[in-house]
């Protein structure tokens, strides 16, 4: 089905950014535009998701060029879900940034760049063309460089250099892969590639190309041994920025892996083993890294790495049940990880520090906020019936039937480590008394009520989405089930694009 409206979620952020550029240096106007525009974007995403869920895949031929020649945008259920999640996360971060970002950063164009980033993310999820995917990746990277360096503190620049170097390397691998792929098939359209790649006789070349893609996406999604840029750069920018990065950017890599591995390089035994090894090592290194960190945000960064491993493992098994687990985990993870960094930002507002040694007494002073945070932390750990619990069941069950016992062990270690660090953080930051001799710098208390609401509301929104995912898991599993079957049997996607 063709639908010219599916790019609306891309254009809305483009226009918000343009209007914000017109309102350069008028921070209040920019804030209103940002929150209002993100709300419109969210509504558009909900409508798109509903349409795709009811009527199936929508496609759009850019500039009216027919499918294998022009650039195609495709909204299948996976894309629509990702756009929806991006919009929810974007809306929440937008509210949080209207208070959590310093005026100085806003003056230097925080909001326009933030919306360019969201535009890039939505574009990457909607495109059906592999080179166009690369272009959207570039849009994302450029915006994220600016967001990461905005403010220009020495520490930030140090993090940004690592981040930039690794991401440029990833783009090089990705681009080389695209080049070889175009050389052997003569096409860039993913649906078209999916049929043409099977006719290529030189299978070893196809295998090598797939390794290029795994490397490129692997760096972006921070898997072992290419993850080290993430913990060393994500703790430097402001929390609202880190929330967008932690929640969404690494997941673009996972999304791209899902897309490319399902359409173009169907994993063979070698790729499966490679991905599985990567997954296990990612989980273990992420978990052990998280165990020794004392700063809340560094700890969360390592947890991102650890949980990326869960998803890569699901892709490595590439059975329907495993993919259901992966997709469900992706849905859960975007909501929770975004929220975690917002919480870290809120803790900083409450206490002026993020080091666990200096934190304490939060529960006694702010019981309601602590309760809200507790719900989010529980769903991260995966206490039933909250959202982290269900996808793990699928991953566990399927790895048993696939005899992937090492992966199961890694999953258990990863989950236990998560539980341990979250319990430690809870005990240190919330239950423990404030350590003696430390002056608490509470910026939150004296704020007017509406500002407090603006800081807590986004955490509440994301938290309630997490709770909804957990309690209404049956619906989510239905969605994930349909996505997984579309990923395994891609004929409906190919038909929708090529109109055969």
């Amino acid at each position: 089905m063709t639908g010219n409206h599916i790019l609306a979620s891309v254009f809305i952020h483009l226009f918000i950014a343009i209007f914000q550029l017109i309102a350069w240096r008028k921070t209040v106007t920019q804030r209103i535009l940002s929150v209002g525009g993100a709300l419109v974007g969210l509504i558009i995403a909900i409508v798109l998701f509903q349409q795709v869920y009811l009527h199936g895949t929508y496609t759009l031929n850019a500039a009216n060029w027919a499918a294998p020649f022009g650039i195609v945008f495709v909204a299948d259920l996976l894309s629509a879900t990702m756009v929806l999640l991006t919009s929810i996360a974007g809306f929440s971060v937008s509210i949080f940034s209207s208070m959590g970002i310093s005026r100085q950063r806003m003056l230097y164009g925080y909001f326009p760049i933030f919306h360019f980033l969201l535009m890039g993310l939505n574009g990457a999820f909607l495109t059906g063309d592999i080179f166009n995917l690369y272009v959207w990746f570039e849009v994302i990277i450029i915006s994220s460089f600016v967001l990461m360096t905005l403010g220009g503190r020495k520490q930030q620049l140090e993090g940004a250099v690592k981040y930039m170097a690794m991401n440029i390397l990833a783009s090089m691998f990705f681009l080389t892969g695209i080049g070889i792929l175009y050389g052997i098939t003569g096409s860039l359209n993913m649906a078209d590639l999916s049929t043409k790649i099977q006719e290529v006789e030189n299978r070893s070349l196809v295998g090598i190309t797939s390794v290029f893609f795994i490397l490129g996406f692997g760096i972006k999604s921070a898997v072992f041994p290419l993850y080290f840029w993430l913990p060393s750069s994500y703790h430097t920018p402001p929390s609202a920025v880190a929330a967008t990065f932690g929640g969404l950017l690494t997941k673009v890599g996972i999304y791209a892996m899902l897309r490319v591995n399902s359409l173009i390089f169907i994993p063979d035994d070698f790729t499966k083993k490679l991905l599985m090894t990567i997954a296990v090592l990612t989980i273990l290194t992420g978990a052990f890294g998280a165990l020794i960190k004392t700063s809340v945000r560094r700890l969360f960064s390592y947890l991102i790495v650890c949980h990326i491993g869960f998803m890569v493992g699901g892709i490595a098994m590439f059975t329907k049940a495993a993919l259901i687990g992966t997709v469900f985990y992706l849905i859960h993870d975007i909501m929770v990880k975004t929220n975690m960094f917002l919480i870290a930002g809120l803790i900083r507002q409450l206490r002026g520090t993020m080091s666990m040694e200096k934190l304490g007494g939060l529960y006694r002073e702010y019981p309601k906020i602590s309760l809200l945070i507790a719900i989010v932390l529980f769903s991260l750990v995966g206490i039933p019936p909250l959202s982290g619990f269900w996808p793990k069941i699928y991953l566990f069950r399927d790895s048993f039937s696939q005899h992937q016992y090492v992966y199961i062990a890694a999953l258990i270690i990863g989950s236990l480590a998560t539980l341990y660090v979250i319990a430690k953080m809870w005990a240190e930051a919330f239950w423990k008394e404030t350590p003696p001799g430390i002056t608490v710098e509470d910026k939150f208390g004296p704020l007017p009520v509406y500002r407090k609401i603006l800081l807590v509301l986004p955490i509440g929104i994301l938290g309630s989405v997490s709770v909804y995912i957990g309690i209404n898991a049956e619906t989510i599993i239905q969605v994930a089930d349909r996505i997984a079957s579309e990923l395994i049997d891609t004929s409906s996607y190919i038909q929708a694009v090529l109109k055969k």
């Binding site: 010219n4 254009f11 343009i18």
Partner: protein
């Protein structure tokens, strides 16, 4: 300077079928302003422009983005080229891609001048 500006507009209009277009045109136009600032000083050029070059960026982006979504109102996919049927004297066919190029032209001038003026103004 007027010659350079005329040449840049020529490049902008020529861009559909021959080498040229908004990007090159924008670069040539900004060279004109840069030369002006070399001879008369940056402040004089700022006065000539009347406003900050930074404000050209959103205007140009807006024109380009508008030309991208314009076909949506005719029920066509975005980025489709729309063309007015009759030829205009001198310019030739006018289409939505011309507006895209004009947008690029303005953005390029805005970006180049912002960068160069920032550098030259801090030197004072």
């Amino acid at each position: 300077m007027p010659i350079l500006l005329l040449f840049s507009i020529f490049l902008l209009l020529r861009g559909h079928y021959y080498p040229g277009g908004g990007f090159v045109g924008g670069l040539v136009a900004s060279i004109a302003f840069v030369l002006h600032s070399f001879t008369n000083g940056t402040d004089a050029t700022m006065k000539l422009l009347g406003r900050k070059p930074l404000s050209l960026i959103p205007v140009g982006l807006g024109i380009s983005a508008f030309s991208v979504i314009l076909p949506l109102f005719f029920g066509l996919p975005p980025m489709t080229g729309l063309w007015v049927q009759e030829k205009f004297p001198l310019i030739g066919l006018i289409g939505s891609s011309l507006f895209f190029d004009i947008g690029v032209y303005l953005v390029v001038i805005g970006v180049v001048l912002t960068i160069l003026f920032t550098i030259s103004l801090t030197d004072d």
